[in-house]
């Protein structure tokens, strides 16, 4: 651990106040989500704990022995509690789909870059075609055809994301392939798979991490958007996006807190990720070094 902190890159990372702030945001929010059941005054998914009479109460309202810090929604759920539990969904979907798409994308990129030729052409054409369409549309397409639900959202976001990794990894692989250590390995008789994964992969991983960080933010926003549009989670387990949607409908009645607070939570986590991702990218970008 100490060695990690002495590492030059890590030190450079911490030189930026913004990046540190972002990291703190991420840690705080993630921990709150993980330990939601300890922090939240109420479990919003447990229907037994809900009391419809508490619906649409403003922030600070007290009832049933619970202080609703951020008010309640249409089902009497505490907004604060729902946000904490909703963050779990956002983070889960964001991280899982990013990991999946990173794995798929990296593998495809390695294969395309390593074998070249027709394999490369096919994979890259596919990537190009997909890249010419906005992510939201592709996700909509998948969900329109295969239906709704959390698992479909994860699939949709995974499908949307693989391209970014594939392209970068392919580029790096092409470069690495020409290097001597690959030749040496081949000459000794090491098989393709082993070369790809044990030798080349570690060298092309750095940009994947940078891309992955930012993509988690994109994934979270995409999930929230899909949920907002009513294409995601079931009504009883609201995620941040669907909370904002339900709040949207009662804006003119003056119940502003149902939309505002989940949005702020969403914004904070995304901002945190962007700050960290920005710093990582600046550190690893050779062009900006004078």
């Amino acid at each position: 651990m100490k060695r990690l902190f002495k590492n030059e890159t890590v030190q450079e990372f911490f030189e930026s106040k913004e990046a540190v702030f972002g990291l703190i945001l991420i840690i705080v929010l993630t921990l709150s989500a993980i330990f939601a059941n300890f922090i939240a005054p109420q479990n919003p998914y447990d229907l037994k704990q809900l009391n419809l009479q508490n619906a649409y109460k403003p922030p600070g309202y007290v009832a049933d022995g619970i202080r609703f810090w951020l008010g309640t929604d249409d089902q009497g759920r505490g907004v604060f509690s729902t946000i904490l539990y909703g963050m779990r969904i956002s983070l889960f979907v964001g991280i899982v789909s990013t990991i999946f798409s990173a794995i798929i994308g990296t593998i495809l990129g390695l294969v395309a870059g390593y074998f070249g030729g027709k394999v490369d052409t096919v994979i890259m054409r596919l990537a190009d075609i997909q890249l010419s369409f906005p992510a939201l549309l592709i996700a909509l397409m998948i969900m329109a055809i295969w239906g709704q639900g959390l698992d479909k959202i994860i699939i949709a976001i995974t499908v949307v994301g693989w391209v970014y990794y594939a392209r970068t990894v392919r580029g790096s692989t092409l470069a690495e392939r020409e290097k001597e250590y690959v030749d040496s390995a081949r000459v000794i008789g090491v098989g393709h798979l082993r070369i790809m994964f044990r030798h080349i992969l570690p060298n092309v991983l750095a940009p994947v991490i940078v891309i992955g960080t930012v993509r988690i933010a994109n994934a979270i926003i995409l999930e929230a958007t899909l949920s907002f549009l009513g294409l995601g989670v079931p009504v009883t387990k609201p995620s941040l996006g669907s909370m904002i949607a339900s709040g949207y409908q009662v804006l003119f009645s003056g119940y502003w807190w149902v939309s505002v607070f989940p949005g702020i939570a969403l914004m904070l986590i995304v901002m945190g990720i962007n700050l960290v991702g920005d710093r990582l990218r600046d550190i690893l970008n050779p062009k900006l070094k004078k």
């Binding site: 010419s132 549309l137 329109a144 502003w256 995304v270």
Partner: protein
């Protein structure tokens, strides 16, 4: 140059075919296709008739050819929910979406480029830092939330601007446009700003990054040493170099704006293609969804083609090989 155009055109056609195949496969292979196209309350007999009429009893590749033929004739299915051909429904709403998208793009470009330049030229000054913080917020807010917040502030609390609908329109060349009326403009502002938000922030960051990179180049230093004024260096020498990638990005982003219009239209009940599609997904009106996907695919391919050609045309290094 001509061969480049021809080659790109050819590639675009292949892409379109690939997309049509993809859509076809996904739609027609995920369950009984007749179900997609028949009204929900059709009887067994009607379904069988429909199957025959649509040629769905024929082998798959024949069906695909038929699908393509129909598509080229502008027939992409019939919406039972709205009782009209899907294509007609979509074309009816396209102007509204385009108007919104153009308005948003205009805002993003007119504000994004200048702010990006300002932030790049003096990165340490306070106004540059403020711009960068602003852009960070801009890309961290999901579009739909921006819309909701704007409605909350400007429609609910302040009551200055309307929160839904399109407003008065004026017909030009037979197409209704709303930016030509005051009422129309009032209705355009909130959804337009919402849609522009993310892309404006993105553009600011891109322009700043590009500009900063260019300003480090030797030819900028050389221009300075020639005695060219700082202002001219920034606005002529540096700017022209980033214009090419920036225009490319604006063009490609237009696609993103069109996509996010789906969200914005939903929030503001703006009568465009996007809202139609979301409603259709909820109402299980599949033909409309399929038609939308195909039409949007064509639009994107055209956008990409135009952007590609523009890029080729603008960069002298590519143009004059």
């Amino acid at each position: 140059m001509l061969e480049v155009i021809v080659r790109r055109l050819w590639q675009s056609i292949i892409v379109l075919l690939a997309v049509s195949l993809l859509v076809f496969v996904m739609v027609y292979v995920s369950g009984d296709p007749v179900e997609l196209l028949a009204p929900p309350d059709a009887t067994e007999v009607e379904v069988a008739q429909l199957r025959k009429a649509l040629g769905l009893d024929k082998p798959l590749h024949v069906q695909y050819i038929q699908f393509l033929k129909h598509a080229l004739h502008g027939n992409l299915g019939y919406s039972y929910v709205n009782n009209a051909p899907a294509v007609e429904l979509i074309f009816e709403r396209m102007p509204a979406t385009f108007e919104l998208a153009m308005f948003a793009t205009l805002i993003a470009v007119l504000l994004g480029i200048p702010f990006g330049i300002i932030a790049a030229v003096n990165p340490e000054k306070i106004h540059s830092r403020l711009i960068m913080v602003g852009s960070l917020f801009g890309i961290s807010f999901p579009t739909f939330w921006v819309g909701v917040m704007l409605i909350l502030i400007f429609a609910v609390t302040l009551g200055w601007l309307p929160s839904s609908g399109r407003g008065e329109t004026v017909r030009v060349f037979g197409i209704p446009w709303s930016f030509l009326t005051i009422d129309g403009i009032k209705h355009l502002i909130l959804p337009g700003v919402t849609l522009a938000f993310y892309h404006l922030a993105l553009l600011v960051r891109l322009v700043r990054a590009g500009m900063m990179e260019v300003l480090l180049q030797d030819y900028i230093k050389f221009a300075k040493i020639k005695g060219v004024s700082r202002r001219k260096i920034i606005f002529v020498h540096a700017l022209k170099n980033i214009m090419i990638p920036v225009i490319t990005i604006i063009g490609l982003n237009f696609g993103g704006i069109l996509a996010f219009a789906v969200v914005t239209e939903t929030v503001f009940a703006w009568p465009g293609m996007g809202k139609l599609v979301i409603d259709s997904i909820h109402l299980l009106d599949r033909p409309v969804v399929v038609a939308y996907l195909m039409i949007v695919a064509v639009i994107f391919v055209i956008i990409n083609l135009v952007v590609d050609l523009t890029y080729t045309f603008l960069d002298p290094r590519v143009r004059l090989k």
